[in-house]
Amino acid sequence: MSTNLTLIIVAGVLVGSGVTLILERSLTRILVGFVLAGNGLNTMFLVAAGASGRAPILGQGDGPMSDPLPQAMVLTAIVITLGTTAFGLALAYRSWQLTGTDDVQDDLEDDLIRRRALHDDVSSTYEDQDATQLPDEEGFDEGGFDDGRVRDTPAEEDA
């Protein structure tokens, strides 16, 4: 099967432009890039469908029909775009509300981990063993108990 040159160029340019925008930090740009790349990939479905024909509806005209399978897939993709784009827009708006821009910032937690790595430090959840402390079913750590053995007076006891 030979390839529709026009459509393949359109698909390539749209995907390329879309990816360029997705690599930006502004959520609006990322979202626009997302839609752009989506359009490019939908074009790719048309390429895969092969030579176009009449609409795949029975009893309307003669001649070869277009391939209905890619069309069914693209229809799903188009509608999903509505949902994801609306959600992305809400995210961008919320981000603007909170930070004044819709730019995606670097993750602070990851930066903290990098600093720990630089200082040859252990993770924040690592608990080093302390030989001076004894495990016990009661009591707790905080406070200046010399051996940690604190016992609450029970409210009531059997006679």
């Binding site: 390329g16 609409a55 399978l69 069914a72 784009t85 708006y93 608990e127 063993q129 079913e137 009591g139």
Partner: protein
Amino acid sequence: MISFILLHFVAAAVAPALAPRFDRRIFLLLALVPAATFVWLLPRVADVLAGQTQTETLTWIPQLGLNVDLTLNPLSGVLALLVTSIGALVLVYCAWYFREGDTEIWRFSAVLTAFAGSMLGLVLADNIYLLFIFWELTTVLSYLLIGHNPERRANRIAAMNALLVTTFGGLSMLVGLIILHITTGETTLSGLMTNPPESSAIVTAAVMLVLVGALSKSALLPFHFWLPGAMAAPTPVSAYLHAAAMVKAGVYLVALLAPVYASTPGWRPVLVTLGISTMILGGLRALRQYDAKLLIAYGTVSQLGFLIAIVGLGTQSAAFAGIAMLCAHALFKSALFLIVGVIDRSAGTRDIRELSGLRKKRPTLFVATVAATSSMAGLPPLFGFTAKEAVFNAFLDANTDLGWGGWGTAALIGILAGTVLTIAYSLRFVWGVFGDKPGLDDTPLREFSVFFKAVPIFLAFCSVAAGFAGGWLAKTFTAYSAQFPAGAHEPVLTLWHGFTPALGLTIVCILLGVALFVGRHPVAWFQHLLVDNLPFPDAERGYRTTLRGLDRLAIEITGRTQRGSLPVYLGIVVLVVAILPGSAMVRAWEPPEFYLFDNRIQLAAGAIMVVAAVLTVRSRRRLRAVLMVGVTGYGMALLFAASGAPDLALTQVLIETFLLVTFVLVVRRLPPFFSDRPFNIARWVRVAIGAATGIAVAGFGIIATNARIFEPISTNWAKPAKEYGGGTNIVNVALVDIRAWDTLGELSVLVVAATGVASLIFLITDRSGIQKRPHRVVTPDSNDWLSANLHDDRRSLVFEIVTRVVFHAVIVFSIYLMLSGHNSPGGGFAGGLVVGLALMIRYLAGGREELDNAAPVDAGMVLGTGLAVAALAGLLPTLLGGDVLQTATIDIPIPLFGELHLVTSVFFDVGVYLVVVGVALDVLRSLGSGIDEQIEDEEAVST
């Protein structure tokens, strides 16, 4: 057997619900479960000892060899009786140990019962994978029990140590069991015993891996350090864990495999050496403890070493002595822990430096303690004595039974050293808890119900009674030890067998033990001198270093790889897509065939789209980027129309229009320009990655289309679409018929996305309060074209009139689109989107009040109804004898009019329609009305 194991878990599941009603009495209720199991097991174990093995099988996953195979043999029968009896007694004890109104009872009682059930399953399991499952269940549940009070750091660490060490061992055991399964083809323990593998290096490795599991579970060197920490659990748990459960699992596994696998190279040297070393180490540590509970915890470490050394020896007399010692240990160790629990609750401390004068105040408890401790020390006339004599005999015979020469004597000396230490720390325990300390006032004691101490006293009594029941018990134990070849002497369990070497050894041990206790101060000084000045290898330190190293490694790797930058992550993902399949593409490249276009409209639309795409990337104004991407969207619709896809073209135009307005609704709030980013190298990198991806994707498309040699499967769809799907529009029939599952999934995604949008704008977790009652809004220049008017000069009279005129017609048209979609372009998606646009027009013309008037319903209701309708329509065909989501055609005769031709997928399409309407309404309410309201609130604040 299966039902009794299940009963434990059912009881554990309902315990949290019952706990608030019964408070600590819940334990008495739960104790009935293991007690009933014990009663049920008793006659069956008697049958088993008489020679009939009982099995039960339930097929589970036969492809993996994983079935619920349970078996009752002489060994597992004895263990099961121990597990259930001590389990029931410990639960009874809990009913007085815990304080009334303790808030943790609901959780604790459930976990403890489940733990008892897992332990029962472990000893009854015959299938190796089932054994592993129960094995790890006890691990996880013991983690929860040890971490009962997580507020102490030491407790958290102790629980984590137990989890890590025993899970490590469990996994090692699993590998060993898998190797044995592969080499023999057997998946049951009984099969592995009757059909053992040929001796080979791989089998030896497998057996050693299994032993690692047993040793870690039983806290032997070098895994011993997790067990003393396990005393962080409430004392009844410690009693159960140390006496009958968890740590006994390792001893049980060794005892179970010993009859066949003891001859594996390395088995005896490893187990006997590690066992004796652990026995001596545990004894030495126990001598240094001041906390009574910790003292007997180290005592358990020592005793476990003792047990493993005996059952690992693998002779008939050793097996006999081993199982006797196992039972004796279960009785005295549970009694001792429970006594410590009573003392702890009465005196408020377990420190033997603070306890004094208890012998006079608690005479019964003192007698019980002396009995249990004497059994531990191996003094006559107690069970521990008869068992220990049997052990001495087994090791005395080791030279002849195994032909060990001097090694047997060396092992015996080690055992004797351990026994001396056991006697010394037993004395230390009795003296420490009950002795009068000079210069210390009598410890004030709190009084408790007599039932509190009933269980430990009963257990201590059992130690005494079993000492006299040696002859009867011997028959029980012989059933297991008979699997071994006979040794030099017949093993016996008796209080008096004449002036034998074993009795002589006992007397020597007692004398030395007493001497060690009397001279405890110089001994302690000497111990400290040795420990402080000699570089002993420390397993615990090695373990800690490993853990810390792992943590550091994770930090380094995370720090280097996880940069936290979205563009970097996406860039790497996209680059991998372009480079990996891209390079494969370059290698597979063949000169492709092209044709320019199907028609000129494609060329025109394509050219517009390419220009718009480039302009989108270059635009610095937000609005321009949005408009340009809209142009590519409409170009897309044109392409669809020109390529024989009218449904796609229709849907694309509707979606694009809706999205464009939505974009503008949000972008009106955002800054007009994208944040200023310097025109630097990073930008060129982005463009290069984008270009590479675009080229790669285009290349894939060219290769894929050129490689195609078969007819598309959809060429055969025409007939079934009409006959099964009941429609002529093949695309829409496919969506609601063969792709209906996919469409249903898509609807769910839409519902989730719409809910997410509403939550992000309104910051709510439920939907109440979004929807407003419809109401007329009257402004000075109101007219009757719309029920609500915009308040300010933004309104347009022409827009209002047009809206009023077209709205209802558009709604009717949308219903027509939905219903006709089966035979011509349209369908539920297109119909729903048309409604969305109609609502959007009302909103734009009259503001958010007008939207509420146009659609006085909650968007969530519409979404939910739509999804429910679609799901029910999918289930409908099952009532007519079809599959889920199969299209069924119903012809209903209507008098005068003929027949109504009803296709069930129409109902499915109604669901689709409603979901799309709901999404549109939600988006308009959130990104339209919601943002409007926030703008007005801000204006109100600023003025």
